[in-house]
């Protein structure tokens, strides 16, 4: 199928993009990598009047080191994120989760910022952003502001980005020594979206978990933190028995959907199993993973 007609603009800078977004008005839509948007347009599930293509803005691409954080340009492709030395060093959780996103062709076009701004709760990167405590750099007519990951995802396909703002970068705090991570994805077939995914970062002290962050994919209308589990993991020994009572809380506070891939009670069960597996895998992999 073929999308309905739209106007197309391709700004060359962030300033031009912000102006173009304003000019496009409420029926405008930002085109990042297009890997989610273009299928939606083809199925004529959306009718934007204007697409603002931010794919040719050099400032939006690439990864840079900024002391305690790495800064990933919003338009850095999944492929480039996965192969970036800084990301591999400081945020291997992002590398691991990104490798599970769609397929190689989609990862060549799809972008880190585009996926996060799309805010599909079945997307894998939101949970990672929560677990890592990322900050979202949003630029609008009034300038730049930073939004914490915990404040960014508001609802299904809805973020804290205001209609006149552009997501320009994601700041990923370096976890520092002693942290390990793992992303556990569960889907029906290789091509399918996550039924449930769990992103875990843990800091171990000897055989004990000192600190843990757990982000959940597709357990509600937004990515979520499993805060009860995080708290209970603190001080737990890094064994299956040691974490069992903590992971039993993994579904608390979630609002799992019921859809073709699974009913809510199955997802609630699955998130407990997968959280346990993810925590143990992270612990087993050890710091740097």
């Amino acid at each position: 199928m073929i999308p309905a007609a739209f106007d197309y603009v391709r700004p060359g800078s962030i300033d031009e993009a912000v102006s173009a977004i304003a000019a496009a008005g409420e029926d405008g839509k930002v085109l990042a990598g297009g890997q989610s948007l273009i299928p939606v347009l083809r199925l004529r599930l959306a009718y934007p009047s204007t697409l603002v293509d931010v794919g040719r803005i050099p400032e939006l691409r690439g990864v840079r080191d900024d002391d305690g954080a790495i800064v990933i340009g919003a338009m850095t492709t999944h492929h480039d994120v996965m192969h970036d030395a800084l990301v591999r060093q400081h945020a291997p959780l992002i590398v691991q989760a990104t490798a599970t996103v769609a397929d190689p062709q989609v990862r060549h076009r799809g972008t880190f910022g585009g996926a996060l701004a799309h805010a599909d709760p079945a997307g894998d990167l939101g949970a990672v952003a929560l677990a890592l405590g990322c900050e979202f750099v949003c630029v609008g007519p009034g300038g730049e502001r930073r939004v914490a990951a915990s404040d960014f995802f508001l609802d299904y396909l809805t973020t804290a980005l205001s209609p006149d703002e552009l997501l320009t970068a994601i700041r990923v705090p370096k976890l520092g020594p002693g942290w390990a991570s793992h992303y556990e994805k569960f889907n029906r077939v290789a091509q399918a979206w996550s039924i449930v995914g769990v992103a875990v970062a843990v800091r171990q002290d000897g055989g004990t978990i000192a600190d843990a962050r757990v982000g959940l994919t597709n357990m509600g209308s937004t990515p979520l933190r499993a805060t009860a589990t995080e708290q209970a993991l603190s001080g737990a020994s890094a064994t299956a028995d040691g974490i069992a009572s903590a992971v039993a809380h993994a579904a608390e506070g979630t609002h799992a959907p019921s859809d073709l891939s699974g009913q809510a009670d199955y997802r609630e069960h699955l998130v407990r199993v997968l959280t346990g597996r993810a925590v143990l895998a992270a612990c087993a992999a050890g710091p740097g993973a």
Partner: protein, 821 residues
């Protein structure tokens, strides 16, 4: 000549790479959608968003003012001319066929039914203009559940019927005289096992979406279409639209897979023809994938109530099968006959003395069903192979031992079954022994016991499917006895050109099988000509005027035999020429490796040998032919098989089942198939691989799901999930060779075997893994959620009931709430 030519290597049996590949791997393809003709209009079809509704008003005129639009039509514009989408298989004399307009006129009966069509200068303009068509619908209740559809007073899908039942088709061995009465077996049974199995709806999902180009020429048409059946299309288009058959030319260019999904004459082919003729311009329609999933026919969709009876020693005494078969909204070309093709296969490889089969064909407000790879036989094989495992469990008997006890021994062939079919040959013991050895079956059983004992959260399961099937459709008189509207013969011509090159015209119509390669090997051997010198001509009713096309694993065992028979006639004509030129009697000539030689003389001896090439040129020149002989070696043959083809084999599957998540992973899959003499092992292996993938996909991955309003919720490949490469294992395939005696090549069909055999092997393996949890069935597709619910036990009903596992909607063939007993 001074040297004796070495006998060329036999072509039959050689793993030839394909002649077909060159243009496919370089992108020089002729898919129907590639075609552009001068003045061509592009069509877009407006489809019903309603499952069941009266069209209270429809106005397509708004489309006419849209850019590029040439014409817009609704059903009313063609009501007098469109006829009905053809159904060629009235399976019973009283079968109800309410008719099937290509463009709905007054009522829609499934989501995706065509209601209007726009012709425009470009495809995008045609699609844009659909939005300007106004349709008002008065909704009617959807009819989704097969059992509810049969309840007195339920909503009728079609207003011109009195029931949602189209037909009841019955076979009873007691009545037919082919076996004992089932009632006696049921009464005398020491053990009775009764099960309900659900064959979920599947979507064939050929990779090339369907496409049709129609060019009106004078008062006729040329139609290019992504079809398996150009010849049948020609005849049916003529009958449906009243175009004289000789004025219709049908062409199947490169066709990107079919799997039964392109076996029908489609509404879209008829609509494209109607518009092209109305406008006097070439027209093209190509569906999108979403349209294809919604509006092309689906397959399977049956409820199977199966009862098996046995003695305590495991001897099976009777089999009683009752099917509810979902026809969907309309009867397509062979839709009603699909479950009937399975009727004869429930007894499978077993000596069962009493058998009854009853099938009700039922209308629902879903997409029509018709053939999907295996067509009736996968369902039959599934049911018998599943219930043999259930019987073994009841008897506390090893499932393979139960099969051995009941199957036909190799020395008992030919064997006439309780259905009256005579299986020519087979060796189930040999295939099974080979498969068990390749599997390392005993070691896996040991491991299974260990993992059960240790309470491993990932349990190992082992599944068996010892199958046969009937293919090579089909002896015409058998089809006649089943009320099919045509025969099952196939036609071929073999033409020897002046230069000794050979053209073979066949009525089969390939779409991926490799017929050009396989048929070339056969002809090369028959005529003693190089493989490269043989050209296979197919898929155009002008150059290949006679045929019945490709489905039912018939191309080799029917079409290939026609080729053999035509080649035999060529040889006999050539013999006359050679005898005349060499001045000997034809009886004194031997034909070997492409040359006639006088008996007793060395091959190549001067004055006593004539090659086919020399004979061909002599015939072309026609200077010196026998008196009264036509100057031609060309020969035709039309072959009508005496019997079906009965490939068989043993498929074994080992699965790891994660009892915590419900995930099933195939750890090892072994199959040993017996397809008789191999023409080309490479092609056989390819057919088996692809067949396995589709059969496994039914077990694990695929289901067409409708919501309770009758909307297809698996309307894209996001939700209808064919497996990609990481979802499947590498298969271990092997063969035994028990040549068929029903044809001169000793071959059996192979196109559907993998699909037919594999599904129950996977399900049996999963159930085997979960027996300690009290599980005796998991509904297909065995999604992680369903498996988890089965393990959990308390949720078993939800796991087995309809598609409750999918969001609670009653969307499947049945909601499973009615106890079969």
């Amino acid at each position: 000549m001074t040297a004796v030519a070495a006998r060329p290597e036999a072509e039959i049996g050689k793993a030839r790479t394909r002649k077909e590949d060159q243009h496919l791997i370089t992108g020089r393809t002729t898919w129907t959608d590639n075609m552009v003709l001068p003045g061509m209009v592009h069509l877009a079809i407006l489809r019903s968003p309603m499952a069941h509704a009266t069209i209270t008003s429809i106005d397509a005129s708004g489309a006419l003012s849209r850019p590029g639009v040439i014409a817009a039509y609704t059903g009313a514009d063609f009501a007098e001319t469109q006829g009905n989408v053809p159904c060629a298989w009235p399976v019973t004399p009283d079968m109800v066929n309410p008719g099937a307009p290509s463009l709905a006129v007054t009522q829609v009966n499934c989501v995706g039914e065509a209601v209007a069509v726009v012709a425009a200068r470009t495809k995008v303009e045609a699609q844009d203009a659909l939005e300007a068509i106004d349709v008002e619908y008065e909704p009617l209740p959807p009819v989704l559940d097969l059992e509810a559809a049969l309840v007195e007073g339920s909503t009728l899908v079609h207003p011109n019927t009195t029931s949602n039942k189209s037909y009841t088709w019955t076979f009873d061995s007691g009545v037919a005289g082919t076996g004992a009465p089932i009632d006696d077996a049921l009464a005398a049974a020491e053990i009775t096992v009764k099960r309900r199995f659900l064959q979920q709806r599947l979507i064939p999902s050929f990779m090339e979406p369907r496409s049709t180009v129609v060019q009106p020429i004078g008062d006729g048409v040329t139609i290019w279409s992504a079809t398996q059946i150009p010849h049948i299309l020609r005849t049916m288009l003529a009958l449906t639209l009243g175009i004289p058959e000789q004025k219709v030319r049908a062409i199947a260019p490169d066709v990107g897979g079919g799997f039964g999904g392109k076996i029908v004459v489609s509404p879209e082919e008829i609509i494209t023809t109607l518009v092209a003729r109305r406008l006097g311009k070439p027209a093209k329609y190509t569906e999108s994938r979403s349209e294809s999933l919604m509006a092309a026919h689906h397959g399977r969709a049956q409820i199977q109530d199966v009862t098996i009876t046995a003695k305590r020693d495991g001897t099976v005494t009777g089999l009683d099968v009752h099917l509810l078969a979902d026809m969907g909204a309309y009867l397509r070309l062979v839709g009603p006959g699909v479950p009937i093709l399975g009727a004869f296969m429930y007894p499978a490889i077993y000596k069962i003395p009493a058998y009854r089969f009853v099938c009700d064909g039922i209308f629902t407000t879903k997409a029509p069903t018709d053939a999907y790879r295996g067509a009736g036989r996968p369902e039959a094989t599934f049911a018998i192979e599943r219930i043999m495992d259930e019987l073994a469990h009841e008897l506390d008997m090893d499932p393979m031992e139960l099969r051995r006890k009941n199957w036909i021994k190799h020395e008992e062939f030919p064997f006439t079954t309780v259905c009256g079919l005579t299986y020519d040959t087979g060796n189930y013991e040999a295939a099974t022994e080979k498969a068990l050895a390749l599997m390392g079956w005993d070691e896996l059983r040991t491991e299974q016991a260990q993992r059960r004992a240790s309470g491993d959260p990932v349990q190992l399961g082992l599944g068996i499917s010892t199958f046969t099937e009937m293919c090579g459709l089909a002896p015409s008189r058998v089809l006649g006895s089943l009320d099919y509207g045509a025969g099952g013969w196939e036609h071929a011509s073999v033409r020897v050109l002046a230069t000794g090159k050979v053209e073979v015209v066949t009525g089969i119509s390939p779409h991926g099988q490799g017929h050009e390669t396989g048929f070339s090997q056969i002809v090369a051997d028959k005529l003693g000509v190089p493989f490269e010198d043989v050209e296979i001509i197919h898929g155009d009713t002008q150059s290949s005027p006679k045929g019945l096309d490709t489905y039912g694993s018939r191309s080799l065992v029917v079409g290939g035999i026609a080729v053999v028979k035509a080649a035999d006639k060529v040889i006999e004509k050539a013999r006359q020429v050679a005898a005349h030129v060499l001045e000997v009697s034809g009886d004194d000539l031997e034909f070997e490796a492409g040359s006639f030689t006088v008996k007793g003389m060395p091959a190549g001896a001067a004055g006593s040998t004539m090659s086919l090439g020399e004979i061909a040129f002599a015939t072309f020149a026609a200077h010196n032919l026998p008196d009264g002989m036509e100057p031609s070696l060309d020969s035709d043959a039309t072959f009508d098989p005496e019997n079906f083809s009965f490939p068989h084999g043993t498929h074994l599957c080992a699965v790891d089942v994660d009892t915590e998540t419900g995930r099933v992973t195939i750890r090892k899959y072994v199959c040993v198939d017996d397809v008789g003499t191999a023409i080309n092992p490479l092609l056989i292996e390819g057919q088996v691989h692809g067949g396995l993938a589709q059969g496994i996909a039914q077990a694990l991955f695929e289901e067409a799901v409708y919501d309770d309003a009758g909307n297809l919720t698996t309307g894209t490949f996001v939700d209808y999930t064919p497996p990609s490469a990481p979802d499947l294992p590498s298969f271990i395939t092997d063969r035994t060779v028990t040549p068929a005696t029903s044809n001169p090549l000793g071959v059996k069909g192979v196109g559907e075997a993998g699909t037919i055999a594999s599904t129950p092997a996977v399900v049996n393996a999963v159930v085997d893994a979960l027996r300690p949890f009290g599980v005796d069935d998991v509904q297909m597709p065995m999604t992680p959620e369903r498996v988890w619910r089965a393990v959990k036990g308390s949720d078993r009903a939800r796991a087995e009931g309809g598609t409750n596992a999918y969001g609670g909607a009653s969307t499947s063939t049945s909601d499973g709430s009615v106890d079969p007993s």
